[in-house]
Amino acid sequence: MNDIATNENVANPHENMQHLDIFENTNLFKKERATRSKREKVVKETIEGWLFSMWPFVGYCLFALVPFALSVYLSFCDLHVWNIRNAVWVGFDNFVYLLFSSKSQFWWSLLQTLYYFLSLPLGLFLGLGSAVLLTSRIRLKKLFRTILYIPNVCSSIGVTMMWKLVFHRDYGIVNSIITAMGGSPVSWFTTPEVFMPLVIFTTTWGAGAGSILFQAALEQVNGSLIEAAEIDGANKREVFFNVTLPAISPTTFYVLTMNTIGALQAMGTIQLFSQAGSTSGYGPMFTSGPFEGKYAGMTTVYYVYMMSIGGGTEGSGKSSAAAWMLAIFILAVTRINFYMSDKWVSYDN
């Protein structure tokens, strides 16, 4: 019997004693115990939640954050073999080399990365354009939809082989059209001027993934908004630019962000195309003109790759340093992307 109950009993002798006995061993009317059990419940829930959900986080820490930290260390070292014990601390030398040395291709590679960004508006245009077409009143929509997504299940190896044949110097279809029209055949994979346009062109082949996303967004645009605009006398083009386009802007932003990140790390195609031209893996080199000595198609990610893993002489220290500067660049681009998005992305549908 606890004190309060006893006191109460004394004060009110007619109070129903049985009730007190029933509640005595429960938590219901005892604030202290109730909070403790609630706290226990929260702890239990939290442990359970972590057990359910922490694995991707753990994986990210183990296989992305640790290498991240390692790459900070590496960027201050000079190292040419895959053994961390051979690392020699060199301070900021790697950064100085990349930014100021005449042998460094870092600035050039940033330029090439920006060049490669041309594939973004192209892809966006193709994705959105085909999505608009596929949500119009045409038959066989499903068939076309299916076709558009095919490139996304093809391997980069296969796709590269395919383009290697299409643009083959001697037996390719493009060159046979050029010669049929009286031109001379172009060696697509070894001519620096056409190398990057070729890469960009072949990238657009896979723009269909964006198309699927845009279609889903277009189908969700609130029909009454369009009707209202039509009643107000807007023509089709005005409706599209003033109603539909703002309504799907979140999807546009999503596709643009994902494609930007994709473009920043695109190197599978570039690596394979470069190898198609020469066995060293470096793309075709400009031999004259203002870009003399620079490799076409040398985007920053590919530069990072070539310096260490690709067999370049610069080593993993400089490679990591370049990777870090690329990271800053990516951060800036993403920041700009988000900043701009405030101006044109609307989330009220």
């Binding site: 959900s53 290498p67 290697k164």
Partner: protein, 295 residues
């Protein structure tokens, strides 16, 4: 009254009764053009793979081989058959268990994020979303070094183990899907005395099977096609090559015989395209679902 009538009679207000349905020819033209852009290269692969050596090396590209179809290309592929089978075996060995385990891990994480209340949930989820913005390739060199510290380089572990922990992209997608499962259902199961684990295994997994299958298939297609990872870690060890590495190496032995090159290409690409065509409904629905949440 007169004003309202005038509005009703005006062109804009009338329903489209007067409009005669005219097929949108321009739309057809453009979409067929785009489809051709995608399909023609695939046709070129297919037809070139069936050319004879002579037809394949003509300076003028032949849309249909002059000397008829020939299996010369595929005959060379068969020569490498044991190597290709070895590659296929490796690909399935590395990626099938990874895909299955990671989809389970992803589903469990998605369930935690969608339906459970726990401290730190939003922080962890936000952090994971943020990591999607950071391209993994920038730690390429450091990862390679990390694997050599772990003594995992020149084994398949670097391409297997990180995948086991799942990926945030799939978690995000599955989370949206699981959020669509009614809370009442889970509440009822809880009143019946089911634990969270039991709810996950007997309720959530069966209910989200379509989404899980889609993601697993997409994940496996991606792994099957992956090239850089295997290239970085396995290129020195021929026996460990995945099918993609095998096909690339083999086709390089026939640089000037385009029919053989394309036969290898077809062997690598068309099985997956067929698989995709068989289950495209699932896949396309899955992809548009993942976007619908954002639009």
């Amino acid at each position: 009254m007169a004003k309202e009538e005038a509005i009703y009679n005006s062109q804009n207000f009338k329903p489209n009764k007067k409009k005669v349905f005219r097929p949108p020819y321009l739309c057809y033209f453009l979409i067929i053009l785009y489809s051709l852009y995608i399909l023609l290269p695939l046709y070129i692969i297919l037809i070139s793979s069936f050319k004879s050596d002579f037809d394949a090396t003509q300076p003028i590209f032949q849309w249909w081989p002059e000397h008829g179809l020939s299996l010369a290309g595929y005959r060379r592929v068969v020569l490498w058959w044991s190597m290709i089978l070895g590659g296929l075996r490796n690909t399935f060995l590395y990626y099938l268990p990874t895909t299955l385990i990671s989809i389970f891990v992803n589903a469990s994480a998605a369930f935690g994020f969608a339906k459970l209340n726990w401290k730190g949930k939003n922080a962890i989820f936000g952090f994971l979303m943020l990591t999607m913005m950071i391209p993994g390739t920038i730690t390429m060199t450091a990862s390679r070094m990390y694997m050599s510290i772990l003594k995992w380089d020149s084994s398949a572990l670097p391409i297997i183990v990180p995948g086991l922990f799942g990926g945030i992209g799939t978690v995000f997608f599955l989370r949206q899907y699981i959020m669509g499962i009614p809370d009442d259902l889970i509440g009822a199961a809880k009143i019946d005395g089911m634990s969270d684990i039991k709810i996950f295994l007997t309720l959530i997994i069966p209910l989200s099977m379509p989404a899980l299958t889609t993601q697993a298939v997409l994940g496996f297609i991606g792994s099957y096609n992956s090239y850089l990872g295997p290239l970085i870690y396995l290129s020195t060890n021929t026996d460990a090559w995945t099918v993609q590495l095998v096909l690339k190496w083999c086709s390089e032995q026939y640089q000037n015989l385009t029919n053989v090159m394309m036969a290898f290409c077809a062997v690598g690409m068309f099985p997956l395209i067929l698989l995709y065509l068989l289950i495209q409904d699932y896949i396309l629905k899955g992809i548009s679902m993942s976007s619908g949440l954002k639009g």
